[in-house]
């Protein structure tokens, strides 16, 4: 989103008008949002009642208030904030996205209600307000700011900030899932992106990075508290929990693959096969009437067997290929993914022993139960009924926590350093005594093991296991989640997984173009932002070898991680 700048002479001449103009724009935006936006009450939730703002109108007000904060920080009571944050850049980004938001609102009302006539005066006032704000933001002069790493607030305030942001995430996620209307969902995404971009431009996000580095434990606790509370916000509805638990399986697999791709730098294109192997083990050892193996161990054993089975497959595939040129790995894993699918397809009793029932797969896998706790039943917690998918959600959350822990601890260990060294210069690493082959195979096997565990749970959650769930495209999707989010990062991959799994659920109207856009997305990401949305500093440097400035900026961040 880059808009050509206005000539500097013009800005200096009219710079003083930016402040009142901006406040006027924000005011108009708020007043307009309090009025009715649309004649048709059926569109975008209900935006037709004056002085009772609907969801999207509240979002517009929030955008306006954020803009006011920026304005008051450049001149006014919040000027101390302005010394730290780059208010001019933040305001520019915010105003741009606000204008986009309001434009889309007008377009959405026009398209959905049939005609521009359906936009009420309130909508126009807000739209004009956004335009005025946009104009004002172009006139704001950037100011010198101080290094945000030095901005330290009292400990409890910083913790409070983390908690508030986490709570915001929770309600944001719950709200997003409750939006059935595709337009409203897109507008919400625009809102979130706009806020995030503005915060990034203003430097608030990097400040948040420093804060979270100081309060790591609080952050981790808060994140999991939020994740655990999420089902309680659904008021007993299991529909969204079904999506949420699918997102979690996907994210868990992506995080496992992230160890292989993001940390060790090995391109595994058949990763879904390891998830599938785990799922088939889970199914074959379950008490389903169609299960093919007589042994019925407790589930915890099944999970471990599934993990070990996948890891063994990983070892078989990895040991010949990891010794040779790395490019071969991609194609051999791709081939392995196909072999796996074909094998599961073929083992139907006609073309080999009947282990998988071929294309029909293993259906009717019963729900898990630990003691008297059956995952199929609805349980009541704090007066809120939690049904089947909520139960799986909690279990998957534990798995996710485990995988994240494995990822993080490996990353910050001797082994993680070895992986980085191999990525940087394999020959030099070897000459320094790093066990290249051993470390590569370790990454490969750990990745496979984790996927196997996730697969065993997935089998129960999905009720049936069939070969066509484990096709190449699924592997490509997992890879895309990593690329989109940011290789080698935890937050990035979570974001990537959520986006890739949630968008198709919510935007069904583009279902047909889903894969087309997905392919395009991979190409464009590699071209313009190969390090992903949330970049690991080191990865960013690897993808931008020439960028000396970036290297200087990144230095502090990387050193901070090393010292931690």
């Amino acid at each position: 989103m880059r808009i050509p700048n206005i000539p500097l002479s013009f800005v200096t001449r009219h710079g003083s008008k930016a402040w009142p103009l901006g406040l006027t724009g924000a005011g108009m935006l708020i007043i307009g949002s309090l009025l009715s936006w649309s004649y048709d009450a059926q569109v975008l939730g209900n935006l037709s009642i004056s002085f009772n703002p609907g969801g999207l109108q509240r979002l517009a007000i929030a955008l306006a208030l954020f803009a006011v904060v920026f304005l008051l920080a450049s001149k006014g009571p919040l000027v101390r904030l302005g010394q730290w944050a780059d208010t001019a850049l933040g305001l520019r980004a915010l105003a741009t996205w606000t204008l986009l938001f309001m434009t889309l609102v007008v377009v959405a009302i026009t398209v959905e209600a049939g005609g521009l006539i359906n936009v009420q005066p309130g909508g126009w006032v807000s739209f004009l307000g956004a335009m005025v704000l946009f104009a004002a933001s172009r006139l704001v002069m950037p100011t010198e700011t101080r290094d945000l790493a030095e901005a330290v607030l009292p400990g409890w305030v910083e913790i409070l900030v983390i908690v508030v942001i986490m709570a915001g995430l929770l309600f944001g996620a719950a709200y997003a899932l409750s939006l059935d209307d595709a337009w409203a969902f897109v507008l919400f995404l625009v809102f979130v992106t706009g806020m995030a971009v503005a915060a990034t431009r203003a430097g608030l996000l990097s400040w948040l990075g420093h804060v979270t580095a100081r309060h790591k434990r609080v952050l981790i606790l808060a994140s999991f508290a939020v994740a655990f509370t999420f089902p309680l916000t659904q008021g007993g509805s299991d529909a969204n929990m079904s999506i949420a638990s699918q997102v979690l399986v996907f994210a868990a697999a992506a995080m496992g693959l992230n160890i292989v791709v993001g940390l060790a730098g090995l391109l595994d294109l058949g990763y879904i096969a390891f998830l599938g192997a785990g799922a088939y083990v889970g199914a074959a050892l379950s008490t389903s009437g169609f299960a093919t193996i007589g042994w019925k161990p407790p589930f915890i054993v099944v999970v471990l067997v599934a993990g070990c089975f996948s890891a063994t497959l990983g070892l078989i595939i990895g040991s010949p290929t990891l010794r040779v040129n790395g490019d071969y790995l991609a194609i051999v894993t791709l081939g392995f993914g196909e072999i796996f699918r074909l094998t599961m397809f073929n083992l139907d009793g006609n073309n080999g022993p009947d282990l998988t029932h071929g294309p029909n797969g293993i259906p009717a896998i019963p729900d898990l139960s630990f003691g008297s706790f059956n995952f199929g039943d609805t349980h009541v917690l704090l007066g809120i009924p939690l049904a089947r998918f909520s139960n799986y959600y909690f279990l998957l959350l534990l798995l996710m926590a485990f995988i994240i822990m494995v990822f993080h601890r490996l990353n910050t260990s001797r082994i993680g350093r070895g992986w980085v060294a191999i990525r940087e210069d394999e020959k030099a690493a070897e000459a320094m005594g790093v066990n290249i082959f051993g470390l590569k195979i370790l990454a490969f096997v750990i990745g496979a093991f984790l996927a196997g565990m996730a697969g065993a749970i997935k089998a129960h959650q999905d009720v049936s296991v069939t070969p066509d769930q484990y096709i190449f495209l699924e592997s490509a999707f997992l890879l895309a989640a990593i690329v989109l989010g940011g290789m080698g990062t935890i937050v990035g991959v979570l974001v990537g997984a959520v986006i890739l799994k949630l968008l198709p659920e919510k935007l069904r109207f583009f279902a047909d173009y889903r894969l087309l856009l997905f392919g395009l997305l991979l190409v464009l990401m590699m071209r313009f932002r190969p390090e992903g949305l949330v970049a690991s500093r080191r990865r960013q440097l690897e993808f931008h070898e020439e960028d000396e400035e970036l290297a200087i900026r990144a230095e502090g961040d990387i050193a901070e991680k090393v010292q931690a």
């Binding site: 000459a431 005594g433 230095e555």
Partner: protein
């Protein structure tokens, strides 16, 4: 010849052989890059390896460190045969630097040195994931040792700098620190002063003495004759893949064959000094030339 040179000849070298290379030969297809070269390095000794461009010095280095498997001959470190695997060689106690610096560019100085500790630590995946007591102890030791080594080579202040952001001379030092982190008995330095100014070169020779004084043996490849003759206890001259002369700096310096190898023919003993200067010049001119590249590969 400076005062430091005099000190070095009186240095602490003993006559216990540490590294023994016997009849090392390396052929690439029809080309014999190294032909029947033998070399002995004693404990606490600084040995210089010189020779014109394309003489096979780096190839010989690669044979010693296991990067190449020599066509013939064997290498023994402290009486044990070295297998031609870089990792095994490092574990046995021989570490190296590279002619064209090969640091881990996007890692900090500290991390680079910590990677050097890899082969002397053994925390596996499980203890790393569980943060077991062994992991914590090793991690702490690794960090302390890495910091010590950075201080030792004079980079104590640059701990948090990314390798790619460091000035050239410091990158050379960092590479030496990384090699020292593997707890070697012997370090091989491949052109440690290439591209350095006279001040940096002097600092480099001080560092090499300092390393020797900790009880390690050092092998140095260099083009800069002044540097080599000032630092080394013994010098080996390779020409066209074969040993031409081996002896003390004085012997090698005055050997007419060496002079001939470097500047063609020498008619007069008095030309020795000029030859030396000429050789130093030659090293600069030869950088990046085709012959040099061929030797790298």
């Amino acid at each position: 010849m400076t005062a430091t040179a005099a000190a070095s000849t009186a240095g602490s070298s003993t006559n216990v052989p540490l590294l023994q290379a016997d009849g090392v030969t390396m052929r690439f297809g029809g080309l014999t890059a190294v032909n029947n070269v033998s070399m002995t390095v004693n404990e606490g000794e600084i040995l210089g390896l010189i020779g014109p461009n394309g003489a096979g010095k780096t190839t010989f280095f690669n044979c010693l460190t296991g990067l190449y498997k020599p066509t013939e001959g064997q290498v023994r470190l402290a009486g044990v045969d070295l297998p031609p695997k870089p990792r095994a060689v490092v574990r046995a106690g021989m570490a190296r630097t590279f002619q064209n610096i090969r640091l881990f560019a996007n890692m900090t100085a500290l991390e680079n040195v910590m990677v050097g500790r890899y082969c002397r630590t053994s925390s596996g995946a499980l203890t790393s994931i569980l943060h077991g007591p062994k992991f914590r102890r090793e991690e702490k030791e690794t960090r302390t040792r890495a910091q010590e080594l950075l201080d030792f080579v004079g980079l104590g202040d640059s701990t948090e700098h990314l390798a790619r952001n460091m000035p050239y001379g410091n990158q050379r030092r960092l590479e030496i620190a990384r090699a020292l982190a593997t707890d070697p008995k012997l370090v091989l330095l491949d052109e440690p002063t290439a591209g350095m100014n006279p001040l940096e070169t002097r600092q480099a020779s001080d560092l090499i003495f300092k390393i020797r004084d900790t009880g390690l043996a050092v092998v140095v490849i260099e083009h800069d004759m002044r540097f080599i003759f000032g630092v080394c206890d013994r010098v080996l001259c390779l020409v066209r893949g074969e040993t031409l002369v081996e002896g003390t700096p004085e012997e090698v310096q005055s050997d007419p064959r060496v002079i001939e190898a470097y500047i063609g023919t020498a008619t007069d003993e008095d030309d020795a000094d000029k030859a030396e200067a000429g050789a130093g010049h030659n090293s600069d001119a030869g950088k990046g030339s085709a012959a040099n590249d061929a030797e790298d590969s």
